[in-house]
Symmetry: C2
Subunit: 264 residues, 2 copies
């Protein structure tokens, strides 16, 4: 079993309730990597037999640290309509909610469509050797290839904090919504780029929007995705961070938006 | 009392539970204007005596239509830390959750800060006469002044769907987080601009991030805000829409990101 599938594995108990446990491969500085937690919450909806349609939006609140070991995940369909569904998902450890969030799923149908955001002109992943050289376990669970705005640059104060990178699971794994939700949190904090060094940070809430159907994501495969991240403003202890994830063929798969606490 | 304060008025019942009712001034095509519903949910947190800090993130799921009349609003502090708090808020009508969401509040402290998004060069609101001429009640509760991408333009297919507008409450009202959360939903759907006509739409989920403290928002006053909205992609029944709200002095107050259902 792939390390990612081990990390998100939910053992069903009763209606909507599952048991899960942390795995060493997705550990971050304190507790599990946030992307893995997003994936676990989304997975609780994906495996629920009452689910209608594909995931379209996921919002996750990182309310408290998750300790190593077991926890419960509870997915509740708050409201079910004919072709859409609104969920609440809670991660409970030692009797307290540590992480929680909401998910929206809906049946996607053929409609008129158009892309406004354009796939940038970038060098192919095979040509990039600039990786991620940090010791945090979760960073080894991905293959990072930085095109610009990598973690080893000089301070960018006064300049935009954009990062462009190729990324895929390491070892490679066929993309699905759950792994994509995790990849959406894989951009290191923009403030590290702005300041040129690490400052204490923590994402407090992250929202991911999916722009493709199950059928479309099934076609992406296990290759690198193009990730683009930036931020709009930093002040009074919080900054925002947004990302785009594209297939190599230029399909916008997901966007994400988060608020991050910092101390500086 | 200002019509907005009437619309968001919550009558406290027991711990975290309030009663509210729809008002004619903020009615939309079907049920209340979504921004007013966001404001009501956020207001339930703002008036809660257990609240810690300023609102930083609000996510609202529009799960079912809200009928004219009374409803209950329930705000629950899911997790309270030393200087941050994570909330769940539910709007219940006829015993069912129609709208629900999550709120993050936190104490904002002096830190290093920087803006990346730049305030655009735009004509002053006094020079703009291009308003909103639709009959929906809620549009009369705002003064719209369109700089570009107004609702009366020709189809934009293949071009970006950006709107820039000045907006304030009508009659004027001193800005606060609750009214700002409502204004974040005031941009008409980007697909109307792309197609050049109205198609059936409905926002399913909207996230608002606040970038200012209580002290900063208190200084904005009752003048026009600059609003900028755009979208990244449209397909298979859903599109995304993002906005920025700026004070006239060039302070980025809030950003919002939503997913919108459409039939076309």
């Amino acid at each position: 079993m792939h390390i990612f599938d081990q990390a998100i594995q939910l053992i069903k108990q009763s209606d909507g309730l599952s048991v899960c446990k942390t795995t060493p491969e997705y550990q971050n500085m304190v507790g599990p990597y946030g992307g893995a937690l997003c994936a676990i919450l989304l997975n609780a909806v994906m495996i629920n037999e009452k689910r209608i349609g594909d995931p379209i939006s996921v919002t996750v609140h990182f309310a408290a640290p998750v300790a190593e070991g077991e926890f419960e995940v509870k997915a509740t369909a708050v409201r079910t309509n004919r072709s859409t569904q609104h969920w609440l998902v809670e991660l409970i450890q030692s009797g307290e909610v540590a992480v929680y969030g909401t998910v929206f799923t809906g049946i996607r149908r053929e409609t008129w469509g158009d892309g406004e955001s354009r796939f940038p002109v970038v060098p192919a992943p095979e040509t990039i050797t600039h990786g991620f050289h940090v010791t945090l376990p979760w960073t080894k669970a991905y293959d990072f290839k930085f095109i610009e705005g990598g973690p080893q640059v000089s301070p960018l104060e006064g300049k935009p904090s954009q990062t462009r990178m190729w990324i895929r699971d390491e070892p490679p794994r066929k993309l699905d919504f759950v792994s994509l939700s995790s990849i959406c949190d894989s951009f290191f904090p923009r403030i590290f780029l702005k300041r040129g060094y690490r400052v204490p940070i923590g994402t407090v809430v992250l929202t991911t929007h999916f722009h493709v159907s199950q059928e479309q994501i099934d076609q992406v495969g296990d290759g690198h995705l193009l990730g683009v991240a930036d931020a709009k403003t930093y002040g009074k202890g919080y900054f925002d961070q947004s990302s785009e994830l594209w297939s190599k063929e230029g399909m916008l798969l997901a966007t994400s938006h988060q608020m991050v606490y910092y101390k500086e």
